[in-house]
């Protein structure tokens, strides 16, 4: 369905020294620097799959999405969606995809929402009966009824996002690209939007590619993630695999009866473990120790701790996905 091979995008950037003097110098004798925003990314997506595309700010997620949607021309590499190359026959290609950018609306500011859909119907040449059926479905999933007669400029962010998603689905696209669809939304609206995306994926079999900073989006929607950082792919696989591979990380949390007792604990020396395997954070009497259960067993950890100090409360938890990803972003874990 989607096939991406060695995709690259470079931007030329003029380096300016600070100040007006620097600007003037850059005007006459510019120093150019090549920024590799996307540096050789490959992956593929099956029909009907929901893929989460994650990475820290500036990792190149949006640039990849913009290349896949035909907005940007890749510097090199291949991307083929549904057998089509986005830049080759853009008009034909975009008929088969839907695109939503959470950060900016693609709707017309002054048009009532209903009119907006009527215009899109013409643009995508959706037949009348199909349009009616589609609108009923989208209305039901995204609950547009309450604001369908309002101009776009008067919609709240949550309403606007629902409106934008509906607009991208009017022509029953085969692939839906969602760039930060839940950004800036409250918990309830986020939930509605996630459910809607799920339903659309189930009922239409739409392939969904989604970028987000909210990892609960990913956990609730996607089975598979592609993680990129500095333009390169750092992980590609199922979330369960990620958890399994890095899930040996456990966190031991406890509260000391006397805060000063912390000096009695020296895990690194006791287990002669490296900084990577054991990491300690303390906040007064509250201690949390993150450790690799392959290197040090949970039992040893507990018995050593309890033999050294008196604790009020103690528990051991699995690493959650957020924790794993945080560690990957910080390059504590290599993939």
């Amino acid at each position: 369905m989607i096939y991406v091979k060695d995709l690259k995008k470079e931007f030329k950037k003029t380096i300016k020294e600070p100040g007006l003097k620097g600007s003037i110098k850059a005007l006459f004798k510019p120093d150019k620097e090549i920024i590799k925003a996307v540096d050789g990314i490959s992956f593929s997506v099956e029909k009907g799959e929901m893929l989460g595309f994650i990475g820290p700010n500036g990792a190149g997620k949006s640039t990849v999405i913009k290349m896949l949607t035909g907005i940007l021309t890749p510097t090199s590499g291949i991307c083929r969606i549904n057998g089509q190359i986005p830049q080759e026959n853009r008009k034909k290609y975009v008929k088969e995809i839907g695109v939503v950018f959470g950060q900016r609306t693609q709707l017309w500011w002054d048009l009532a929402l209903r009119e907006t859909y009527a215009v899109l119907k013409e643009i995508y040449e959706v037949p009348d009966d199909m349009y009616k059926k589609r609108m009923t479905f989208l209305n039901e999933v995204l609950e547009l009824d309450s604001f369908i007669t309002s101009p776009v400029r008067t919609l709240s962010l949550g309403q606007r996002m629902r409106a934008d998603i509906a607009a991208s689905l009017l022509h029953s696209p085969k692939v839906l690209f969602l760039d930060e669809p839940t950004i800036g939304l409250d918990v309830v609206v986020k939930d509605n939007i996630r459910n809607a995306i799920k339903k659309i994926n189930e009922e239409d079999g739409t392939t969904v590619i989604l970028t987000t900073h909210d990892l609960s989006d990913i956990e609730l929607l996607c089975e598979r993630i592609v993680m990129i950082d500095k333009g390169k792919k750092v992980f590609d696989g199922e979330i369960s695999e990620l958890k399994h591979n890095f899930g040996q990380m456990r966190t031991l949390r406890f509260e000391l009866q006397k805060a000063a007792d912390i000096d009695l604990l020296d895990y690194q020396k006791k287990f002669s473990a490296t900084q990577d395997d054991i990491e300690i954070e303390s906040d007064g009497a509250l201690i949390s120790v993150r450790f690799n259960s392959d290197a040090v067993s949970v039992e040893d950890m507990l018995s050593y701790t309890l033999s050294q100090v008196h604790v009020k409360d103690i528990n051991v938890t699995d690493a959650d996905i957020e924790d794993i990803i945080r560690r990957i972003y910080r390059r504590e874990v290599s993939v």
Binding site: F11, K66, I71, F101, Q106, E115
Partner: protein, 263 residues
């Protein structure tokens, strides 16, 4: 083509609906343009109250050329005004993204999105000037005069639109080019008067380099004198076609160089 016209009429209808919401804005815009044109005419009137003719051109001939120049400018303004925004902010802010995610030509989408009724100020003034000046002129009239007027208007408008498209497309590389469009646009003030009153440099410039003279003086000259239709009208057609070809080429190159903006 049918689809293009249909889409265009939908957008115009939507625009007119929007207009009803912003009535005051429309009235101020159209009045402003009407007033600024009016004062320019007054200015020409003042000049001619002092002198009988300008390099052999009478008052009414000048009015005719001036009026004629306003019509293609007004048509361009009416339908193709959104190109200004491309150079000023659409590209710089990354808003051009949305024009690329719809299955219609990006240039067409940009153009069709705005319908600038303020331009009626120019069109009304242009037609009024023609109506005032024609009875005072003894213009030759052939069976093909009316068709040629239409041809001249279509291709003069094309010259305006193509020049705006090229300068707007420069922003795909430079991020902003509104001021380039503006600067170029200012030179069209020269074309409202007979080119014979200018020195060689200006004359060559507005005839062969930025051929604004073909949007007004040359075609108007033909209608006034009936002389040299090949150059006066043919030149307009050639300038329009050549510039449009360049414009489409530069636009398409620009779109593939488009870099969007961070989000």
């Amino acid at each position: 083509m049918k689809r293009v016209l249909k889409l265009h009429s939908i957008f115009i209808a939507q625009y007119l609906k929007r207009l009803m919401e912003y009535k005051v804005d429309f009235l101020i815009g159209a009045t402003g343009i009407l007033l600024s044109q009016f004062f320019q005419i007054v200015f020409i009137g003042i000049i001619f109250s002092q002198i009988p003719a300008l390099q052999g051109w009478s008052y009414y001939e000048i009015l005719f050329i001036y009026g004629f120049s306003l019509i293609p400018k007004g048509i361009d303004h009416l339908f193709f005004d959104n190109l200004w925004m491309v150079g000023y902010q659409i590209v710089r802010k990354g808003d051009f993204d949305k024009y690329l995610t719809r299955p219609i030509n990006s240039l067409f989408y940009v153009i069709v999105e705005k319908f600038c009724v303020d331009a009626l100020g120019e069109l009304v003034m242009g037609i009024a000037l023609l109506c005032v000046s024609i009875p005072h002129l003894s213009m030759p009239f052939y069976w093909y005069t009316i068709p040629l007027v239409l041809v001249a208007l279509v291709f003069s408008t094309m010259i305006y639109t193509a020049l705006k498209t090229v300068t707007a497309a420069i922003s795909f590389w430079t991020k902003a080019s509104g001021h380039i469009t503006h600067m170029l646009y200012m030179t069209n003030d020269f074309s409202k008067y007979p080119v014979t009153i200018y020195n060689n440099f200006v004359r060559t410039f507005i005839t062969y380099i930025i051929p604004f003279a073909f949007t007004a003086y040359y075609p108007a000259c033909f209608f006034l004198t009936g002389e040299n239709p090949l150059f006066n009208i043919g030149g307009t057609v050639i300038a329009g076609v050549v510039l449009l070809a360049i414009a489409l080429f530069v636009w398409n190159k620009g779109v593939s160089a488009y870099e969007s903006a961070g989000s």
